[in-house]
Symmetry: D2
Amino acid sequence: MVKVGIVGGTGYTGVELLRLLARHPQAELVAITSRKEAGMPVADMFPNLRGHIDLRFCDPQEAGLDECDVVFFATPNGIAMQQARELLATGVRVIDLAADFRIQDIEVWQKWYGMEHACADLVAQAVYGLPEVNREQIKTARLIANPGCYPTAVQLGFLPLLEAGLVDERYLIADAKSGVSGAGRKAEVGALFAEAGDNFKAYAASGHRHLPEISQGLTRYAGTPVGLTFVPHLTPLIRGIHATLYARLTGEADFQALFEQRYQHEPFVDVLPFGAHPETRSVRGANTCRIALHRPQGGDMLVILAAIDNLVKGASGQAVQNMNIMFGLPETLGLELIGLLP
Amino acid sequence: MVKVGIVGGTGYTGVELLRLLARHPQAELVAITSRKEAGMPVADMFPNLRGHIDLRFCDPQEAGLDECDVVFFATPNGIAMQQARELLATGVRVIDLAADFRIQDIEVWQKWYGMEHACADLVAQAVYGLPEVNREQIKTARLIANPGCYPTAVQLGFLPLLEAGLVDERYLIADAKSGVSGAGRKAEVGALFAEAGDNFKAYAASGHRHLPEISQGLTRYAGTPVGLTFVPHLTPLIRGIHATLYARLTGEADFQALFEQRYQHEPFVDVLPFGAHPETRSVRGANTCRIALHRPQGGDMLVILAAIDNLVKGASGQAVQNMNIMFGLPETLGLELIGLLP
Amino acid sequence: MVKVGIVGGTGYTGVELLRLLARHPQAELVAITSRKEAGMPVADMFPNLRGHIDLRFCDPQEAGLDECDVVFFATPNGIAMQQARELLATGVRVIDLAADFRIQDIEVWQKWYGMEHACADLVAQAVYGLPEVNREQIKTARLIANPGCYPTAVQLGFLPLLEAGLVDERYLIADAKSGVSGAGRKAEVGALFAEAGDNFKAYAASGHRHLPEISQGLTRYAGTPVGLTFVPHLTPLIRGIHATLYARLTGEADFQALFEQRYQHEPFVDVLPFGAHPETRSVRGANTCRIALHRPQGGDMLVILAAIDNLVKGASGQAVQNMNIMFGLPETLGLELIGLLP
Amino acid sequence: MVKVGIVGGTGYTGVELLRLLARHPQAELVAITSRKEAGMPVADMFPNLRGHIDLRFCDPQEAGLDECDVVFFATPNGIAMQQARELLATGVRVIDLAADFRIQDIEVWQKWYGMEHACADLVAQAVYGLPEVNREQIKTARLIANPGCYPTAVQLGFLPLLEAGLVDERYLIADAKSGVSGAGRKAEVGALFAEAGDNFKAYAASGHRHLPEISQGLTRYAGTPVGLTFVPHLTPLIRGIHATLYARLTGEADFQALFEQRYQHEPFVDVLPFGAHPETRSVRGANTCRIALHRPQGGDMLVILAAIDNLVKGASGQAVQNMNIMFGLPETLGLELIGLLP
């Protein structure tokens, strides 16, 4: 049994970790911390967990995190970088669901996240937890930077094309749409039901924090700097990200076969038949990324559609997938989830 | 392994049975029929099942249903009563998720359902599949009438009070609200997103088919005919039923203790603390019924709040629960589901 | 032209007042105040008003409110009672959309609203702004207590029956459902899209602030104290209240005719045919209350369904209706609104 | 007064025409036809119209359409082309809200719409009713092809850039998202609340009927054939289209000024400040198209965001705007609508 701790369990990635770990046959949930809610039964805040999890939120000091095998940080940006070093020193492995360790270039990180980084040296040791790319390094990693939600969908969608060098990497476009849970469980006017409901809008179209994370990945796969235009949108659904990707072809290939081969051994990437349309509800609550390809009018623009659940493959499910890999467990353990449809 | 067949798998109770049975450790899905869609892979219609179920819809004639241990009818009303006799004769047990066997008084049934009943004698043999009431009979039943969604929530909410004889059974009120999936996967204007979305209305307030089913149950628990006013409403959520029940007290008791004791051994009924408010999302995708009590201003009106997922405890989950009981399996097998929140 | 000021225009009742007054042919919007947002163009906060309203939020001190003919308070509870006296002294009429002047019994108000009342004497002078009941007093009123949203729907639904003395006033039940905009434009976790979306729940079932307001009205219409059970619910729609009312009949009458006669001259109450089901979307954005009656199974329980838009007839529309009456304008001026359907 | 007839009033564009025309000071609604619902009061089908419109649906034969000044066709594709000639011959002007007269190349039309065209000669006479482009021709037009919803948003977004010749017209991308009302008031499984709710997907990504309509317009504005990739998506909102447009710059200019100047006299196009994000709810129920520009990281990709209400500026509102122009009325008459927010 893997002893698991969670730091900061009162947000959506926290409750999603709890949902997954409560039914995980090889995970033992030891502690979940919240300074503010210490003492409150977890199931009082998240009533879906009644009867499944008996833990109370506890103060970080009393959580005994250093006796865990792995600690997940389901905290806002800037927390894990303060606390990871100490835990790592005691042999605990760390999976950060926030952005602290995702960007290798510290100056870029500091610019986009608006704060001083607390441990640049650890960033260099961190492994970017996208198993479809970094599975081998994840196996032995001590510190995982769990990818962002948009970056997961966009990278998985572009990956085979960039690896194969078949598109003009200077003009990639990612038009992405996210459900409102992506904004977190924070009291903000813009995420109110009466604001975000029955409404659609773009946001941060001039620059979103996930842009440098995505660019870093795409540049690596392409082997050359990419030019990416990334426009995120807020759509009135609770869970789900849909990325619509546009790439200009520079060479010919059987693109469908390319994608199918690239992902044929990936348990959580599902390449649909050519011309299909993945729906976010088909992965609601599941750890799957579904992808489909289109080539409108047979021209030289390839359209890639990718759908994930932002809280599962885009956050907590991928984190558990990383945990499974790190501890030598079957990668799909506890993650054989079927999307809730309807 | 229990060999399972499903008749009529193209509706929401059908796909929900598939979702549950695909992960059920003791069920082997043998066949799923659809005259109209015979030959189509199930996962083409329900993309959430891709990678989980490889079956194709098959013609009922070629389904080999008579070699199943149990057959679920996820069909419209009036189908199971045509086909059950033959299956039962071959030793197959039958669980009907529609209304054909729910009402013992055939004339009442015919009046409310507007058709001739095809097998009145079988109705007398059918067991009403509400495990919290009929567990013993279910164990040996050959034919189960799986309860309706509203009836499940309303009966579980009133049950302890009527058994204890503590309320005026002549003036019971059930104000119930259902998500739109309760209308089924049928192309109807009233269930369109642009009609049912951002809208709230009552329907069938002068008389709904579930009224006689509920009254039959409540009358049995009370030991005397009840007077029930039942008003269903359509609310813009996909899954979920919330019943708000009003009963005038005729005696005193510790009502909270009464409910807790009545349901203390029930794995799928969760009595919340007095004064709580169960949310439908806390049981989204789960087989649980959550109940809470209120006594406004300490007066003689008791308010009972009950929430279920209409497709799980209100349909397919309860059907699988019945199957587990019928076949001597642990009652919770395959049903240890955590509500998807958010 | 009526010179109009609005205090506290950054909430939903504020923007709704603006929407209505911007197109009102006899209203001149002079000032809208917000201490916090002073200087910001109103249309920057509410982009639907771009091109329709050029005003900026201004500091209350510089608003020149004392030169208005009427001032609307679209503020939280407890503000208008601090500021009304001074305005009234200068001859300005006041319409408070909050609860400060709704309850005549100061002790009851203080208990439910948890604060000391600042001007009990003004409460006695205030007219409860439900035109269908108090039209004559409204004409000459200096201070209007604009009714709450639930109280509007529930009172209009019960009114004809209580006036006629045809129901058992000891056991009235109001099961009411509200859209999320009723919670206001406040950053609260419970009103987030990811919390309130695809979810249904009761709240404050043991006691809600609108209970004493409704009871005060119903007691007046009945001429005797009423017993009311009032359970509000939160439903995932943006605008709309649906009240389902239950009353036990104590006498016979043509109830449909009773309602039609009572409301035959009311421009904003629409009695539907017997057995109909009013939909909240049919009054989305409109100042209408639609009502329908049911008598299930011809028994002695009457069910009344009433639907309003909580922000229009339940708040800002009714406030403008009161303004029209106070200033001798046609009552429907600026309020000939058609519900937005779909 | 302009005498108005509507053919086929039972769909969403029909009820929206009714909503607008009922309050139009210079329109007299003479007849609204529906073969299927002849005799039914319009307000029975669309309860928002109760008290506003007393008409009944009538049989087309008895509608007296030839005595109207203008007839709107709010019918499925393929109807107006059967009936327009006869009406035009009697001097009635015709505005078709469907696609019959939008595409000048008959072969292209027949390919995309899958039917033989009934009156190619009339297509040549029809004026494409986008007032921002064709105002002069609309004034004297006898037959208007009212633009599609996507085409309106996409064309208004690209128009100034193509006219100015500042972008690479070979690689235009339009990523568009529509509310579900765009699918019409037709009983189809895919548009059910339980299917389209809490879900996001692309559809027709390999080719949508609005592609040739948009391309025809863009080609005209550019003066050279354009290459357009157009991917529509279905998003869970009732009304609204959001188009996110991508164009590679080939020249420099003050793009914000370019847009502001192009649209400075347009009453229904609102250019937001540079870097803003138009929301669909800001135009809910309004005839406005709101547009904003972004230039991510100052690169050579321009992003244009355009939001409309698909039923108003994308259909019925634009049709009334065309009527106003045709009959010499103020263009904004009856269309001074404020978006319903929240």
